[in-house]
């Protein structure tokens, strides 16, 4: 597997500039001859499709929702980072770069991260020009808030709906291109396979979710922007429809899957309430600016609270353990996500957890309300407090919130080089579905940044460069969908569907997904160990056999069939989950979101093993149930020297 | 025509109609004064110079016609936009008046037709045409009286008695229909007067509340102003100067 990262020459500050200069360009008259497929309409997808369409390429964009505006980017609440230093608090591109590499626990590629920090400022300019209504100060200037893992205030936001506003901005631009006919949009189309001709990506196969029609689509380049795979845990902060299918199908066709075990468990989510639950809701991390995290010092007190004998507010100050402030004085409640999450788990495993399940900690606003007054807090977090009350039926102005970590973001993804191209020529991966910028842990407000950086600012250069250098104008757009490769891929898709429908067993896809989620959360979640992971692999295999032998699907393939859609995604999760465990098992170090119990300091902090693991694990598919083969891309740190990632 | 174009027409024609109705209501209240007041007033209107009367009538007619035609278009198009109806019915903040504009409108149309036959063309009681009376010169518009007496003729059409008789208990169904129509008008205006500002884009959060209140007040005043007359005639507070039979 060729893992040449194609990192440009020169000092990190000049790499992107050099790259942009060296990229080949497609002359304006020829652009319309080239066709590009973009799968996904999130920040990365909509951004890329709109930008490429605007440049004159022939773009086809696909999404599984009924409108591109509904991609899960819409759910992002907190904000987006940029090194504008509008607050004049000492921020800079270099500091954002530094924080992100450190935040990623020294497992990301310096060159990519620097580019991300570099374009971050252009992103804000771009979004404002689009009419994104960012929060402002009375002077009319943009407002900022601070976020986990940073000591500067560099996060731009639009109420609690930043992701929505950024996505709508991209959707506006996309809509414009659709109106102009530059982009053809295909809603309710699920991509089920990538088509390679002579090892080069030339198209995709989709299922029309309304009438079940299987279609072939050809293009000179295919860009996957299909988001993350947190739904492998079933319960997560992701949308019900989020899936690993697109990425996994590409992986099965030969694309390397990088660091699948790097998953982020977000510290501030609403705890699970019962079996019925279908999703976990995130409470924006910004709450940690004013909320104080604690659990009772004594197990007995915690027990009383769980059973309702005692109200949290009745616990005396000296009987409370503000564990984040205690353990990480300088960052306190704003300690990075992986660290905060693990601390919460520790407390609960220690029997001091709250919430009915015992898996919850308090996020307390009493002090903030005393200090700033209820109105200020309401002004800052009103919508989040309402959301909390609606779900938990508790008024957080009077009683502290209960929170618990939940699967949220996946740093792992398809391996890509500096040009965001996978190891398959012509197949690109952008946004959350690639592995590129966040190493082993992502800092808050940096995924929106990456999605838009990839879509608006990287895509136009790297796609143009690929087309200009690999596909002569004469051959542009001349791909025959009757090529055997298309027929073969279509058959694979149809066979899978028919097979699932023909089982006629007794287990619903949803119940299998729930089982899978339990296994993953329990054995490949916040803390992992060798024994557990080995068990997990066995259990996943059993579950997969159960799926293929006892699945029950209503209806047929040629109609709108929600269970068939679900089953297809679960099937891919069942294969992917195994790879995730292999990766977690193989990486017997702790870093960022990946915590191996075997590898921790005496204080129970994550312990990296840089000699052995200062690299990217890239997996090659060898067949379902076969042991995947690992390849490595080693990481060089010339600027940010790996150190113990201390937030004390 | 665009959906908003229709809204503008509804609003503008509605505005004129509201203006007329209120003015008309005030004029009609002269019924509570000495008969000369309304009679001179009516004479004045009938003898406006330069055919102004017909100008006004034409404007009114256009507004009513435009208002109705647009209303019909709106109703038909909106019906088409929701071919399948909901089984479970529920309403949130939309007022009763706002949902029933089309029905109140139709009743108003019937009223206006009847009303014009009643008092303008007077073909419901042709005898009305022969109601004449001598002015005594106690009305406001002295010049009317002076002019007439100068011409040595001070008898005018007795609108006072026409209305009084038209609304008398003897023809009870007329005043009853009027009163019902006035209730309907009241509802129509309750929504209409505020709604027209919304249609013209001259409303915001703050002013919506104010305008809704203003609309309510105006609608009620118009209602009271108009109904007071048939009520007064029915109850005999206002009595005709002469009976129908004695028309000479």
């Amino acid at each position: 597997m060729n893992l040449d990262a194609k990192i440009p020459e020169g000092p990190v500050q000049e790499k992107w500039t050099n790259a942009k200069f060296n990229y080949k360009l497609v002359n304006p008259a020829n652009k319309r001859k080239y066709s590009v497929i973009v799968v996904g309409s999130g920040l990365a997808g909509a951004g890329a499709a709109a930008t490429l369409g605007e440049l004159g390429y022939n773009v086809k964009c696909f999404c599984y929702q009924d409108s591109p505006r509904r991609a899960h980017s819409i759910a992002a609440q907190g904000g987006i980072n940029a090194a504008k230093n509008y607050q004049n608090d000492g921020d800079s591109i270099y500091r954002l770069f530094y924080d992100t590499v450190k935040g990623g626990d020294f497992r990301s590629r310096e060159a990519n991260v620097y580019r991300l920090a570099e374009v971050s400022n252009d992103i804000i300019d771009q979004c404002v020009a689009q009419g994104v209504p960012f929060a402002r100060e009375y002077g009319g200037m943009l407002a900022n808030r601070s976020f986990g893992g940073a000591q500067v205030s560099r996060t731009f936001y639009a109420r609690g709906q930043t992701g929505q506003q950024l996505l709508l901005g991209a959707y506006h631009s996309l809509s414009r291109q659709i109106g102009l006919g530059q982009v053809k949009m295909y809603n309710r189309h699920e991509m089920l396979d990538v088509v390679l001709i002579d090892g080069v990506a030339k198209g995709i196969i989709t299922r029309n979710m309304v009438n079940g029609k299987i279609d072939r689509w050809a293009a000179d380049a295919v860009v996957l922007c299909t988001g993350g795979y947190s739904t492998v845990f079933f319960l997560s902060t992701n949308a019900a429809g989020c899936n690993v299918t697109a990425a996994w199908r590409a992986h099965r066709r030969g694309a390397g899957f990088a660091n699948p075990c790097y998953t982020q468990i977000h510290p501030t989510c609403i705890p699970q309430e019962g079996e019925h639950q279908s999703k976990l809701t995130l409470m924006s991390e910004s709450l940690r600016n004013d909320g104080r995290v604690w659990v009772p010092k004594e197990r007995e007190t915690a027990a009383k609270i769980r059973t309702g004998e005692m109200l949290p507010s009745e616990v005396a100050e000296e009987d409370r353990d503000y564990y984040l402030e205690r353990k990480y004085p300088s960052f306190g409640n704003l300690a990075p996500r992986d660290i905060s999450s693990r601390a919460a788990k520790e407390a609960c495993d220690d029997g001091r957890g709250v919430a009915t399940s015992g898996f919850g900690v308090f996020l307390d606003f009493a002090d903030a309300i005393n200090r700033l007054g209820r109105d200020v807090i309401a002004e800052r977090y009103g919508n989040l407090f309402d959301m909390y009350e609606n779900i938990m039926d508790v008024n957080a102005y009077e009683q502290p919130m209960q929170i618990y970590p939940a699967p949220h973001y996946t740093m792992g993804g398809l391996w890509v080089d500096y040009n965001l191209q996978t190891n398959i020529a012509g197949l690109f991966a952008m946004g959350e579905c690639n592995f590129s910028d966040h190493g082993a842990n992502r800092l808050g407000a940096s995924a929106l940044m990456q999605g838009l950086a990839d879509g608006y600012f990287v895509a136009p250069y790297v796609i143009g460069n690929y087309l200009a250098s690999e596909i002569p104008v004469g051959k542009a757009g001349k791909i025959d969908i009757n090529d055997p490769a298309f027929a073969e891929a279509e058959q694979v898709v149809k066979d899978k569907i028919e097979k699932m429908l023909s089982i006629k067993g007794n287990t619903s896809p949803r119940s299998i997904h729930i089982e899978l989620g339990k296994i993953m959360l329990d054995k490949c979640g916040m803390a992992r160990n060798e024994a557990g992971l080995k068990e997990a692999i066995e259990e996943i295999r059993k579950l997969r056999d159960k799926f293929w032998s006892d699945l029950k699907l209503p209806g047929s393939s040629d109609e709108l069939n929600i269970e068939l859609e679900r089953a297809g995604r679960v099937a891919d999760h069942l294969e992917f989950a195994e790879l995730m465990c292999y990766d977690a098992l193989d990486r017997d170090e702790s870093c960022g979101g990946h915590f191996r119990e075997e590898s921790q300091t005496d204080e129970g902090e994550a312990l990296r093993n840089d000699d052995k693991f200062s690299n990217v694990s890239v997996w090659e598919f060898k067949g379902v149930g076969e042991t995947p083969v690992k390849h490595v891309e080693s990481l060089k740190f010339e600027y940010v020297k790996p150190g113990v990632r201390s937030y004390k | 025509m665009s959906s908003l174009g229709k809204k503008y027409i509804m609003a503008l024609s509605g505005l004129v109609l509201v203006g007329f109705a209120t003015g008309h209501m005030v004029g009609n209240l002269q019924m509570f004064l000495h008969p000369d007041w309304i009679n001179e007033y009516a004479y004045k209107l009938q003898h406006l110079p330069y055919g102004l009367l017909w100008v006004v009538r034409l404007v009114m007619l256009t507004c009513v016609v435009a208002h109705i035609l647009t209303a019909v278009m709106l109703v038909l198009e909106n019906y088409k936009a929701r071919p399948d109806k909901y089984v479970a019915k529920a309403s949130l903040q939309g007022s009763f008046a706002s949902r029933t504009m089309k029905y109140s409108g139709v009743i108003l149309l019937l009223f206006i037709v009847f009303h014009i036959m009643h008092f303008t063309i007077q073909n419901i009681h042709p005898e009305f045409l022969h109601l004449e009376t001598q002015l005594e010169g106690v009305g406001t518009m002295h010049h009317v009286y002076d002019k007439l007496s100068a011409m040595g003729k001070t008898s005018v059409h007795d609108v006072y008695s026409m209305v009084a008789i038209g609304f008398s208990a003897r023809f009870w169904w007329a005043p009853v229909f009027y009163i019902i129509s006035m209730v309907v008008l009241c509802f129509h205006l309750m929504h209409g007067i505020s709604s027209m500002f919304q249609s013209l884009g001259l409303r915001n959060d703050l002013w919506r509340k104010r305008l809704d209140l203003i609309a309510l007040v105006v609608a009620v005043i118009v209602f009271i102003g108009f109904t007071s007359i048939p009520v007064a005639c029915l109850t005999g507070i206002i009595e005709p100067l002469q009976g129908l039979a004695v028309a000479h």
């Binding site: 930008t51 605007e54 929702q65 009924d66 591109p68 505006r69 509904r70 899960h72 759910a75 252009d122 300019d125 771009q126 404002v128 020009a129 689009q130 009419g131 994104v132 209504p133 960012f134 929060a135 402002r136 109420r159 709906q161 709508l168 959707y171 659709i178 949308a239 019900a240 309430e273 019925h276 279908s278 995130l282 039926d393 136009p460 619903s508 209503p554 709108l560 929600i562 269970e563 | 665009s2 959906s3 908003l4 503008y8 909106n78 936009a81 071919p83 909901y86 089984v87 019915k89 529920a90 949130l92 007022s95 706002s98 949902r99 929504h191 709604s195 884009g201 409303r203 915001n204 959060d205």
Partner: protein
Amino acid sequence: MSEKNISVTIKVWRQKNSESAGAFETIKIESVSTASSFLEMLDLLNEQLIDADKDPIAFDHDCREGICGMCSLVINGIPHGKNNLQTTCQLHMRSFSDGDTITIEPYRSKPFPVVRDLIVDRTAMDAIMQAGGFVDQRIGAAQDANALPISKTIADKAMDAAACIGCGACVAVCPNASAMLFTSAKTSQLNMLPQGKPEKDRRALRMVRTMDAQGFGNCTNIGECEAACPMGVSLDFIAMMNRDYAIASVKECLGMVK
């Protein structure tokens, strides 16, 4: 947090596809936790149906946290159910009591044909956006964000409009099936901001005409939309669009807008 189990009767619209005729089906569902959301109740119901070899009820949903606008449903005659400022996915079963009968219908309006059961096709709203719901600006070529100060008042008001999640409840609830609240939220957001000013008139004209062309009804200022809107989008924006369109039309007659 005092949760209990209730049983309810669901009267739900079933329709195989846009061609076939639909009908109501009545199903009873036992022991639903009041802590579960309305959609989780439907998940449970679907599991039951699958067990009984019946087709599950098809409904739209994705984020399940009230922001993507994908969930729809008219519950007991009200889009997104009776609670204010909530989407269907945020509605919880504790809003119902034991023994209730709940009627669930799809959005009803000509531009939103039923695709299956409770799923409707809302692409008509995308079409309105494509006509002018954007700022005509070259991606990647923008001046510094702070070079263009915008008063907090305007920014906040624009955000109020921008909050629209494009769910279509305003259309579903409007007795005239009018899309005015949605369309006006979009025109107003962009027309208010300096970035959108240059295309103000053009935007108003094109978006309103596309809205009409899609077959939505005419607004008669009934105001149900505002009450049903999960994001509390205000009727002010309708007034604003009425104003913008009037001015634009006049300018158009005078040949001042292309």
